[in-house]
Symmetry: C2
Subunit: 222 residues, 2 copies
């Protein structure tokens, strides 16, 4: 029975890694499309989000089946519950990639990336892609050093997010309302992506070390 359980847990882990890899691909596509105004690529990201959603649902079903059949307790139980939460966060990260792609499509044939903020959003996009890849690595390897790395990347995203508002609210900002709306939404999306990743990282860290409350704490909502 124990062996079956650990086989099941490995299956859960494999699937979480797979979803995280898909999220990384989605974010890579979304930020590239956003930077270049590539609407075909944006469409692709939007379409592929369904795959992430489906895989998250399948994983939830697997987790519920494990709870029902193998009735884990203690740490094993917490791992399964954590997997349910991680899958929800990954699904939302996929949705964020989709939102960025939608912003690109909405502005086509113009570029969604507001003038004067190109380098900032390029940087945010690069960090988000690194966040997604690091998160997949963390789920694959359970190397807790990656939690700190994700925390640092998230700090960088927060700082860039603030810098977008500073720019937009400065005297020098020449953007029209559409550019201001785009900058606000895009910056929010990029920043939230990091929050969700950090939430997953804290969950992984909790499973290794034991404190649960840290999770809700650091994670901003919406």
């Amino acid at each position: 029975m124990r062996e079956v359980f650990h086989q099941s847990l490995e299956d859960v882990q494999t699937r979480l890694v797979e979803i995280a890899d898909l999220v990384a691909v989605a974010m890579e596509g979304a930020t590239r499309a956003f930077g270049t105004g590539d609407v075909a690529l944006a469409e692709e990201v939007i379409e592929n989000d369904q795959v992430i959603d489906d895989k998250a649902i399948e994983l939830d079903e697997l987790a519920i089946e494990i709870l029902a059949r193998q009735q884990p307790v203690a740490r094993d139980l917490r791992i399964v519950v954590a997997a349910l939460r991680v899958s929800a966060s990954l699904e939302r990260m996929g949705d964020i990639a989709e939102h960025i792609a939608q912003l690109t499509r909405m502005r086509f044939p113009e570029r969604a990336i507001p003038k004067g903020l190109k380098s900032t959003f390029t940087k945010m996009g690069e960090i988000d892609v690194e966040v997604a890849r690091t998160l997949a690595d963390l789920l694959r390897t359970e190397d807790l050093d990656l939690v700190n790395k994700l925390s640092e990347l998230d700090d960088q995203l927060d700082a860039l997010h603030l810098s977008v508002f500073e720019k937009v609210l400065s005297e020098a900002w020449q953007g029209e309302a559409a550019a201001t709306v785009d900058a606000t939404l895009a910056s929010r999306y990029h920043e939230r992506f990091g929050d969700h990743a950090l939430s997953v990282a804290k969950k992984v860290s909790y499973l290794a070390t034991g404190t649960w409350a840290a999770d809700i704490e650091g994670v901003d909502a919406v």
Copy 2:
């Protein structure tokens, strides 16, 4: 054992309703503060969000304990797993109320509510409060007619959200960048609040009727 389990489930339900009631109070305060520029009330909402977070964590712990001790299966198991998801959604709804309060505080002594959009945001705020109260009622009574009501309220929020963008992107919009940023964020927050409520409603509906996939489907991310 069955009796103990049903006692535990009632306890879970009571706590969910309690958190939903707190979310309704938070949203009521947040929208009132946003409309009137009442920064003291905004501070109160921000402070009280910790209570919601703590209660959500306690509920999660209770759910995990029920899984461990009573090892429910089939529908009972799904109810407990759903409770974990519902508590996460309620916690996020509380965070949204906090974000609206933070927007109010950030703009003080100015009013955060952008000129020309006062009636729109008053309406969105009223609907969000109704959403929160309806959701608490749904969790209390399990009256599935309330799911349809929440779905209609969410449609109204979506329409108002779109109308904000139409206004902000119209030739007639005279707002400065700060007003555009505020309108964008506030509208997004108000609209997301409805999404989370609908996600909970679908979960409740699923438990009564049986289809799980509907959940992720209709719910927008971030």
